[in-house]
């Protein structure tokens, strides 16, 4: 173990030397001068300073450069002194390493631009190749794979020898292959082996690497590279189908989530509810308010903010739904045109009310940590927020279905929608059921708002962008049938995502609309038409 650590240290020293050899000719001069340059607030000076500090061999070099990357390197423009704010909050002088009590008032973080950020990454990359954290080693190996810098070869060889973690070993082998492929004096055998390794990797990066292979190579290598490219291309196009299907499922889940409340109010009750989108919007604003409260009062609970917002959004949107039903819609049953106009007017009122209360600008709703980022499944990038939304949608759908099937309220709802008068004569309070059904639909729209706040803007216009799509899904799936809404949403989502790469986003959307219009001509009642007496009622 100890020997291993020693090895690492030796390699670290080697890497610093290597960087010294690779780095752009930095101004020769003492470490102090180089550090002082950080205070000049000029990108070219900062660039020189990074080179000089990285090659100085000073024990503070790593601390300074990683602080620079994180925006913790502070410079005082007046005294030209530079300080490192350490992660634990302590402040040290970057030259003397002495701890100081506080920063001068004028001190500001040393600025970076993208070019410098890459320089910093490269400087740190050489160091992290031997980091004790395997994830960091893999990351460093990946960046070597991309840059395939010849000077890194001994370092990679060294790292490979000591590597024990399987994934990291693979990453180093690939990085080594990339370097060998572009090394002018590598033997043909080495290059052929490298091509085989890269072919096995088989992703977009491997493709890019092979495409970048130019110059006069022996015929055997050219043909091997072409062969590998063709194989990678084939597997990539297969993966892109999988990717489209995933994107389709994900879009479908968003459509379903937005439409599922409407499937109750419009589909089951027959109310053309143009204010449905605003219920979604209200749900999103509830999320905002919950997060804002958590941010100011209980910051450690932030990751649970969505879980708290779900029931609240259901209650708030549901209550508003019941209120709307009691005060407006119940007077308009059986008059679809008036309902349409009244709910449309209502949607404008709700939008403007929210605009007055929260302002017209977008409100920031953060993603909890478990909904940020992505993971790779083969060659497909799956983002966590989309995955969670898909799961959430299916859960909401299942709960709703179970509710309609197994609870007394569900039974009453179905009875009222199937035959209102008979239900009434059986002793069901139909007007109470109406209010509750409308409230349920609105509440579910509110829940949808919680999820949609994670992928869309929280602004007063949020609902408008979903109302057309929601109606489309419900009508396409078949009015009055929840399963139809499910199938309709996923069918539209997947069709859209397979059309988009071919036709573009705008034309794709138009094509979908045209297809739906044609479909409705053929089957006016949608995919799953209700049969029986309810249809005539």
């Amino acid at each position: 173990m100890f020997a291993n650590v020693l090895d690492r240290f030796r390699a670290l020293a080697l890497s610093l030397l290597l960087i010294a050899a690779v780095a752009s000719p930095a101004l020769a001069g003492p470490f102090e001068d180089a550090v002082g340059k950080f205070a000049n607030d000029e990108f070219s000076d900062t660039d020189e300073a990074i080179g000089a500090v990285a090659t100085s061999g000073n024990p503070l070099a790593f601390a300074i450069i990683s602080a620079l990357q994180d925006g913790r390197l502070m410079a005082d423009p007046d005294s030209k002194k530079v300080y490192v704010t350490q992660p634990d909050g302590k402040i040290i002088d970057a030259v003397t390493a002495e701890q100081v009590a506080s920063l001068p008032a004028a001190a500001a973080a040393v600025r970076l631009n993208n070019r410098l950020r890459r320089t910093v990454e490269a400087a740190l990359g050489g160091l992290t190749l031997l980091s004790p954290d395997p994830a960091k080693r893999i990351q460093a190996a990946q960046s070597v794979f991309k840059t395939h810098d010849e000077a890194m070869l001994p370092l990679v060889d060294d790292a490979l020898k000591n590597e024990t973690v399987k994934a990291a070993k693979l990453a180093f082998t690939e990085a080594r292959a990339a370097i060998l492929l572009f090394k002018p004096d590598a033997t043909d055998v080495e290059k052929l082996e490298a091509i085989a390794t890269i072919k096995a990797r088989g992703d977009q990066e491997a493709m890019a690497l092979l495409t970048g292979l130019t110059g006069d190579q022996p015929a055997a290598i050219v043909s091997a590279a072409a062969n590998a490219k063709a194989t990678i291309q084939r597997s990539l196009s297969l993966w892109s189908m999988v990717q489209n299907a995933w994107y389709g499922l994900s879009l479908g889940s968003v459509l379903l989530l937005a439409a599922i409340g409407l499937a109750i109010t419009f589909g089951v009750m027959g109310v053309i509810n143009m204010a449905h989108g605003e219920m979604v919007m209200i749900g999103a604003y509830v999320t905002f308010v919950v997060q804002e409260t958590i941010r100011t009062s209980y910051p450690h609970l932030f990751d649970y903010s969505l879980l708290m917002a779900v029931p609240l959004a259901f209650i708030v949107a549901g209550a508003i739904g019941v209120l709307i039903e009691r005060s407006i819609i119940r007077f308009l049953y059986g008059r679809p045109l008036e309902t349409l106009l009244a709910t449309w007017g209502l949607s404008l009122v709700l939008q403007q009310a929210v605009r007055t209360m929260f302002g017209p600008t977008n409100r920031e709703v953060g993603n909890p940590s478990w909904m940020s980022g992505a993971f790779e499944l083969g060659q497909v990038t799956i983002t966590y927020n989309r995955l969670w939304i898909l799961c959430f949608t299916l859960a909401v759908f299942a709960i709703l279905l179970a509710m309609l099937r197994y609870t007394a309220l569900g039974l009453e709802m179905r009875a009222v929608t199937q035959n209102r008068r008979m239900a009434a004569s059986m002793g069901i309070a139909t007007s109470r059921v109406d209010a509750l059904t409308f409230g349920l639909g609105s509440g579910i729209a509110g829940i949808a708002g919680v999820a949609l706040s994670q992928i869309d803007n929280v602004s007063p216009n949020l609902g408008q962008s979903y109302i057309i799509d929601s109606f489309m899904v419900v009508v396409f799936g078949g009015v009055g049938n929840l399963w139809g809404t499910l199938v309709g949403a996923f069918a539209l989502g997947i069709a859209n995502k397979f059309l988009e790469p071919v036709a573009g986003a705008v034309l794709g959307k138009i094509a979908i609309l045209v297809l739906i219009i044609l479909f409705i001509q053929k089957r006016p009642r949608g995919l799953f038409a209700l049969k029986g007496r309810a249809v005539e009622a």
């Binding site: 495409t211 994900s250 017209p360 990038t381 983002t383 869309d456 962008s465 988009e500 986003a505 705008v506």
Partner: protein, 439 residues
């Protein structure tokens, strides 16, 4: 009022109604003389306060009100106080024209500050021409226009898009370009100009990817995956984004989630300012770029004074400032100076007085109104910082004069706007004719 009166006279009247009418007339006259004693100069504000564009335009309404307030504290202009007339065109393009007509004919405003989208500007143009009034338009736009009644204080393409591409080419060594935009006139024209410009710099067709999306597009998975694919050929790639309004938030979120960092594929945006960033978690956006002629973080005494006064006026210490706001600040000061120079608010005289007027901008320079009704401005490239502000990483050495007609497009290369010498907005320098199309 007048039509009402003649109508009354035309119908047989009872004595009582005559009396009422006379009384009304007397009262009206009294009100009129009373009003004359404290006569004001009216300034129209034509910005959407509801609908999709309210997100951006409400701030501009507040800005004009703030500027009027400040000017009145200084005693107004020509010895009279300024009075704002605010209308709400509700993000509805035809309504813009109606409201503009209402402002000019009914409210008798001397000048209008307004519009955001190009389509709203195009919709009010005929009204301003017909009724001969003045419009100050504060937003970056696609160019290819120079009207006598309009003064363009936002950036023309050569004051935003071209410098941004130059920066990426020189400093980031970008070789492959994604031009992504919302599907309407501003992105389409800008991208046409950029495509021509890139090709003139030797960029090949296969290294340019153009993509349009509908307004309010929210599912960016496919497009971001495509960008990622396009950018992984080994050549340095950048995205030039003319994506407008709300669609930006999900776009940036998707970029962040799919792990595209600014160091790999930088995105330079022309419609994302401090105001838009206020609605996003900016940590994943660190290092992405925007091109503007003003950013809030500029360290200049005039800017700091303005921000302080603005935050005091809005009673919100976190209220941000942005580029179109500065455009209104410059435009407003230019109008005041022109009115003082012409000693009247008469539209013709003020229009003639405006070219050549100078006004301090908030970034330490002095902008000038040009004969083509555009202004000179500096151009900044800013990187998004974690606090939702921009960090200026590059700026043009001096001020850039706004071109009404792009030098990159075949149809407009030879055209100039010159309302001083030639009295023409689309003068063809090749054929020496006004109204001619370019070769």
């Amino acid at each position: 009022m007048l039509t009402q009166l003649t109508h009354d006279i035309a119908t047989p009247l009872s004595r009582r109604r005559w009396l009422a009418a006379t009384a009304g007339l007397v009262l009206g006259l009294a009100a009129f003389t009373n009003a004359k004693a404290q006569e004001t100069i009216k300034v129209g504000v034509l910005h959407s306060l509801s609908g999709t564009m309210a997100i951006s335009e409400t701030t501009l309404k507040d800005t004009v009100l703030f500027l009027i307030d400040e000017q009145n504290k200084k005693g107004g202009v020509l010895g009279k106080k300024l009075e704002a007339v605010v209308v709400d065109p509700a993000s509805n393009w035809p309504l813009f024209a109606e409201k503009a007509r209402e402002l000019i004919t009914k409210n008798k405003v001397s000048v209008v500050f307004g519009c955001w989208t190009s389509v709203s500007r195009k919709s009010v143009l005929p009204v301003f021409k017909e009724l001969n009034s003045i419009l100050f338009y504060p937003v970056q736009y696609e160019g290819e226009e120079s009207e006598r009644n309009v003064f363009y204080t936002g950036a023309a393409p050569n004051q935003q898009a071209i410098p941004a591409v130059d920066y990426l080419m020189k400093d980031e060594k970008v070789k492959r370009w994604v031009l992504a935009g919302t599907d309407y006139v501003y992105p389409r024209t800008t991208n046409k100009i950029l495509e021509a410009y890139l090709k003139s710099k030797g960029v090949k067709q296969e290294d340019i990817m153009i993509n349009y999306t509908p307004f309010g597009h929210s599912d960016w998975q496919t497009i971001v995956a495509d960008v990622k694919k396009f950018g992984s050929t080994g050549k340095k790639t950048a995205v030039v984004s003319t994506i407008n309004g709300d669609a930006n938030v999900p776009f940036y979120k998707e970029l962040g989630n799919q792990g595209i960092k600014a160091t790999d594929i930088p995105v330079v945006a022309f419609s994302v300012g401090e105001e838009e960033l206020a609605g996003i978690d900016t940590k994943p956006l660190l290092g992405h770029l925007a091109a503007w002629t003003y950013v809030q973080s500029i360290k200049d005494p005039a800017n700091e004074k303005f921000i302080k006064a603005w935050q005091a006026y809005t009673k919100n210490p976190k209220r941000v400032t942005n580029d179109p706001m500065e455009a209104h600040v410059i435009g407003f000061e230019m109008w005041i100076k022109a009115v003082e120079k012409a000693k009247t608010v008469d539209a013709d005289k003020v229009i003639d007085a405006l070219p050549g007027i100078e006004a301090k901008n908030l970034t330490g320079g002095t902008s000038t109104m040009l004969p083509n009704h555009h202004i000179t401005k500096p151009v900044f490239i800013g990187e998004i910082k974690a606090n939702g502000q921009f960090d200026v990483v590059w700026k043009t050495p001096g001020l850039v004069a706004g071109d009404a007609w792009s030098k990159e497009l075949d149809g407009s290369r030879d055209l100039i706007g010159d309302w001083v010498g030639k009295k023409c907005g689309n003068y063809n320098t090749k054929t020496d004719k006004c109204g001619g199309q370019g070769s």
